[in-house]
Amino acid sequence: MDLVQLQRQLVDYRTSLYHEGFLDEQFTQLQELQDENNPDFVVEVVSLYFEDSERLLNELSKALEQQIIDFKRIDAHVHQLKGSSSSIGAQRVQKLCIVFRNYCEAQNVEGCLKCLQQVKHEYSIVKTKLESMFQLERQILNAGGSVPV
């Protein structure tokens, strides 16, 4: 695939992520913070988001396996995940976190378990999509082109 086709593919892919609600305006804000002095900012902050989210999802799984469920602790983890998802523009994950917190407040174990599965699912989708997008960007840069804004 030539450079122009790659660039077009990236723009289309990125647009689709917004249209399908995977990303929101906040992701655009992150891109605007990237410049020549900080050329890898978006990848860095998204990588941090992945690390942090995976840690939180593990904690949530463990917490929901306990004999006595600590809903306060679970809520605190979901609050963190909601916060970071919102900050990078991962809209679908953020919205599910809101639902998750409602189940925590209601101390509904079944609801929490179901929500956790949904959050894990949505998270893995957005992670895959962002990684694909970053890969396209790398291909463009390797081909000597610049990443279209």
Binding site: Q29, L33, D35, F41, V45, Y49, G83, S86, S87
Partner: protein
């Protein structure tokens, strides 16, 4: 953005800020936002650390204060900082949407409140309030 007259022996005219947030992703983003505006900044992870850093003698032109944090939350930290006589601009940044909760945060001593996520334009509007 000179901070003249605020920092006696300080050589630099650069504005300074303290980020108070327990979320690693938010701290990274807030740091970048401030850096891009040429604002020297430091981050701590909860309200108690924010109070402690002031007890050690440091002051800042701007404090970006998250509300929900472990150990000491933003409301309590703001209250304590004001009781200590800290007159810096304190901008509360939170995802809370209930009016009552926001009001409590503001009444603790905030100069401004912005809903998260923080964007460049929200940060600029906070800074304009410092410079009057």
């Amino acid at each position: 953005m000179a901070a003249q007259g605020r920092h006696g022996g300080k050589k630099s005219n650069k504005m300074t800020a303290l980020v108070v947030d327990d979320n690693t992703v938010n701290r990274m983003i807030h740091h970048r936002l401030l850096d891009n505006l040429g604002i020297e900044n430091v981050a701590v992870v909860n309200g108690k650390e924010a109070v402690d850093i002031h007890c050690s003698g440091k002051t800042f032109d701007l404090i970006l204060m998250d509300m929900d944090m472990p150990v000491m939350n933003g409301i309590e930290a703001t209250r304590q900082l004001r009781e200590m006589g800290i007159r810096s601009m304190i901008a509360g940044v939170s995802t809370r949407s209930m009016e009552r909760e926001i009001r409590e945060f503001i009444e603790a001593g905030l100069d401004d409140y912005q809903e998260k996520p923080l964007t460049m334009s929200k940060l600029i509007s906070i800074i304009h309030k410092i410079n009057g």
